[in-house]
């Protein structure tokens, strides 16, 4: 389509939704800026490789995986997804990126927990994370905002979360620690969201989209 964007863009530019939805932490950013331009593999291939590796490990090694194998899985995920922090696929395929990151992250968390027989805790953590991630979407759509920096630091990004989950696994702290983590993350995310909504309702700003777009509004 039209490749050129009008030079004098007066409309306020929303933050790039793909970058927001990815929910990258500092480690993914570091990997991206260190290796992003050097690895000559297409971004989409890296994302498919990362998500595919984790899905295969979960399906075939499953809950019997050794600590070493889980470490290797986490490393593959960090590397493949991390590199794509700085490199996007072709614009017409951008829509596939956030889903792949979510599949990679959530499956890893579930797989790590499964090796410690802690799947209910993983479900709790994933459920808390879905609140954060849906909130990223709705916040951007309705209010044209992203969460405050402190909340993003606390959430640690998908990269930070898989590392923390692995450390908890290695320390033998599952499932208890994962339940606590899920509870805290969920409570803080919900509380911050409610507070920021109240602030927004008071200011009655018009920023952001406000329509029921078919399909995704469900």
């Amino acid at each position: 389509m039209t490749a050129t964007v009008a030079p004098a863009e007066q409309r306020p530019q929303l933050p790039d939704s793909v970058a927001v939805y990815r929910d990258d932490g500092p480690i993914a950013q570091a990997i991206g800026s260190a290796l992003g331009r050097r690895v000559p593999i297409p971004a989409m291939a890296l994302l498919l490789l990362g998500a595919g590796t984790i899905l295969a490990l979960t399906a075939f090694a499953g809950s019997d995986a050794s600590l070493g194998l889980t470490a290797a899985g986490v490393a593959v995920l960090l590397l493949t997804f991390g590199i794509t922090n700085a490199r996007y696929p072709k614009e017409s395929f951008h829509w596939a990126v956030p889903s792949l990151v979510r599949i990679g992250e959530y499956t890893t968390l579930a797989w790590l927990a499964a090796t410690a027989d802690a799947l209910p805790a993983a479900f709790a953590l994933i459920a808390a994370l879905t609140f954060r991630h849906y909130d990223l979407v709705y916040r951007l759509r309705h209010r044209a905002e992203i969460p405050p920096a402190w909340l993003n630091r606390l959430a640690a990004g998908w990269d930070g979360r898989v590392i923390i989950a692995w450390l908890l696994l290695a320390l033998g702290a599952l499932p208890a620690a994962m339940y606590i983590w899920a509870g805290l993350l969920g409570a803080v995310s919900v509380a911050e969201s409610v507070v920021s909504w109240r602030r927004f309702e008071r200011s009655r700003a018009t920023a952001g989209e406000f329509d029921e777009i078919e399909g995704e509004g469900e």
Partner: protein, 588 residues
Amino acid sequence: MGDPTAVTTAIVTATVPADDGSCAALLRWEGATLLERLLGQLAELGIHHVRVLVRPAHEAAVRAVAGDRVRVCAATDADLRAIAEAAAAPGGAGIVILPGEIVTHREALAGLLKDPRVVTGTLLGGGRRAGDFLFRVRSKRGRVISAASPYHFANRPTSAFLGVLKVAAADRPVLAASAARLAELAADPPEEWRDELERKREMWRNSLWRAAQRSEDDDEEADGEDAPVDEFDDGPDEAPMPLDVTLAPDDEQLLRQKLAAAPQDATALALVGMVRSGTHVGVTRLRRLFWARPLSPASAARAEVDIRDYDEDKVLLDSAVKASDGFFTTFFVSTYSRYIARWAAHRGFTPNQVTTVSLFIGILAAAAFATGERWGLVAGAILLQAAFTTDCVDGQLARYTRTFSKLGAWLDSIFDRAKEYVCFAGLAIGASAAGDPVWSLACAAIILQTARHFSDFSFGAGQTRLIGDIEQPPVERALDAAAIAAAERRAARVAQPEPTEQAPRPAEPAQPQPLSRRVLRAWHTIDRLPGVRWLKRMAAFPIGERFAAISLTAALFDARVTFIVLLTWGGFAVLYTLSGRVLRSIAR
């Protein structure tokens, strides 16, 4: 004050002559005039600051009705200058521009003027209201991307412009600038504009001729939804026209009248000005309400009779139901939930209260599922359906009572997710209690559903961005961006250029297209077969189908079966939507 979408000023154009040469806005209506009726409706909507633009010949007559609100404009360029001046006037809220002779329900106007979700926007009707000789627009994802006027062409239109344009306070400077520019051009229309008007004359002549051939089987079409859009088809817009058709004297007279009225349409020109300036012009639909723009005493009398056949409350309630809902929601829930919505409206419940009730019922359902007992699974299934019905009610209540808020939209979305995932947890806890743990399936189901949603969100965001990136040609150009691009492609294909290719006629000869586009086109074509659109919506496994699947499988079988069904149907939906999106991404 404080509402950035509020409208307090109206510019009413009473410039179009009726067939007897009088002012169309002064046609009789229930003992008064169309204009008085409209001014009354505007006053009820809180619009007290009104300017009525008239031609010198009708000044005295209109003044008798509208008093000192009248402003005399000699021609269309003067109308546009008056619009520009009003927009540039300091202070004030939003402006609405509309013709004085339109007849519609007050709710149709309110749907545009009182909807906080539409900042700057317009009222649209179904795409095939061709008999009314309306100017048409192309809209996508709730935004007008191209609009026609007497002098402007809209490629592959989807809807008809019903004359009402709302410009929010923030967009008034754009209106002032674009209307001033249009006024300069309208004073002496450039050649490209005149060619376009000539093309319209032929088009209208032809559609009158075709209408006469077709006799009297006019199919009423709903004004709710866009006609199906084939986004990759930039082929000919109108069927080829037989030249030199002869019209019946009545039709010839009608055509002359339309041609006289068309260049007076300052509202359509103002809309083009806003769209071509890159402003986000939103869309409100007429739904199934009445709308007419009589230009003769006979048609005004007909409208007066026709509008009585409308049960306004029923129409409003029916159109509170979302047209894009899935099969289960549309046929098994919305059929009765709208009456609950009306009941809730009369009892004074707010949509957010209903949303919250829905969440609580959903949590009760999850608690029942978590018992793992048969009675619990059955009770959970019933409660979940109750929660889903309530969830449909809140949106219908919001649309019925026009109480929209961003907070409400957020609560609705986030509580939907919460209900679904809490029920997953409840089912998995219940299964463990019954001695058959399914946590791995529950994790898989939540991951799959979240991934599906994120694919939808991102795909939608990408489409919206594409629409925002369309470079609008300046108003001097008669053709819109798509038609210009098509003309350029055509010119490039003609290797030995025929230098005197006549006026740009945005019709394109058939050409071989890449496979992905051909598949997509075929995909859109089968939508016209009965039931196919519903099947496609079901295949995408929307929320109604998901909740129905959970309830049925949990009540009849157990949690394991529920998750397997969710994963199987959801997995199929992934393959289905994925193939469509990949094709589109390749075709782009």
